[in-house]
Symmetry: C3
Subunit: 114 residues, 3 copies
């Protein structure tokens, strides 16, 4: 059964099916915040969606990170590395990509195991 979380008119914030949950691109609420705070906000949203699906970050399989300015790579990682479950790190890819709102500094998608 397909289950859709935080369903909006354009997208669901997460969709689960067949033992996996797919998390849509998460961005910070405070778009004027710096890269560290935006990263914390995005990771907090991922935590909340995983919780809604009944799991936590130890079940992450893969994460994609998009940075409009790749110079933010180390600052993003300083928050990301603290957040990740050190015993259960997901696969990851990080690339530079401008986002819909020019104030956004980071967006992430994720896949996790239910």
């Amino acid at each position: 059964m397909i289950q859709r979380y935080q369903k909006g008119s354009r997208m669901s914030q997460a969709v689960s099916y067949g033992g996996l949950v797919y998390i849509a691109g998460q961005v910070a609420e405070n778009r004027k915040a710096g890269i560290e705070d935006q990263t914390r906000d995005v990771l907090g949203k991922i935590d909340a969606l995983l919780k809604e699906a009944g799991i936590d970050r130890s079940r992450l399989i893969a994460v994609n990170v998009f940075l409009p300015a790749i110079v933010d790579f180390e600052a993003m990682n300083s928050v990301y590395d603290d957040w990740i479950d050190i015993d259960n790190p997901p696969a990851r890819a990080c690339t530079e990509a401008r986002l819909a709102d020019p104030d956004l500094r980071v967006e992430m998608t994720a896949i996790a195991a239910l």
Copy 2:
């Protein structure tokens, strides 16, 4: 069993396995068309591949949208929002990314449940 659709020498346009179908990056046939028409063309190709796999857009789990010019975001969405199954919206991420042919205005990949 892995099933490959519209198999070419470089890629398959879709591959199904384990209850999911993965759709390769779809681009418009008419590369001189505007963003709205290219979006309609791309979504039509996704519809056709989903049909070939025996399903329809109500089974979409996640969609990735790539726009060479992020200023096309609203125009792409004006077509996308009309197309999506309002009861079954997939997770989505949209980022700016230049594509192989500079005339292309949009590319999309998708995952759906069989």
Copy 3:
């Protein structure tokens, strides 16, 4: 069961679950090499990770290619097309995206069926 391969402090180089293996973004060891050599290196790393998971490139479902300079598209493909299992081509998307290290010319992620 989730299995993590080449687990580091930031990410696993591959994670398998539910019949699939997700390969993290692979980049070349020799970052001063040209696009053809970097492509060969990346594809070799994907081969090695697939082998670690007990499979080979004939089981690839989807590949994502990121090129910091999209002008490298044909040169990357000249290596990629020779490498791919012609009877079992995965779905693919290729977009332009700058990477963490400006010397890198190509990064790839992949999903394969166990």
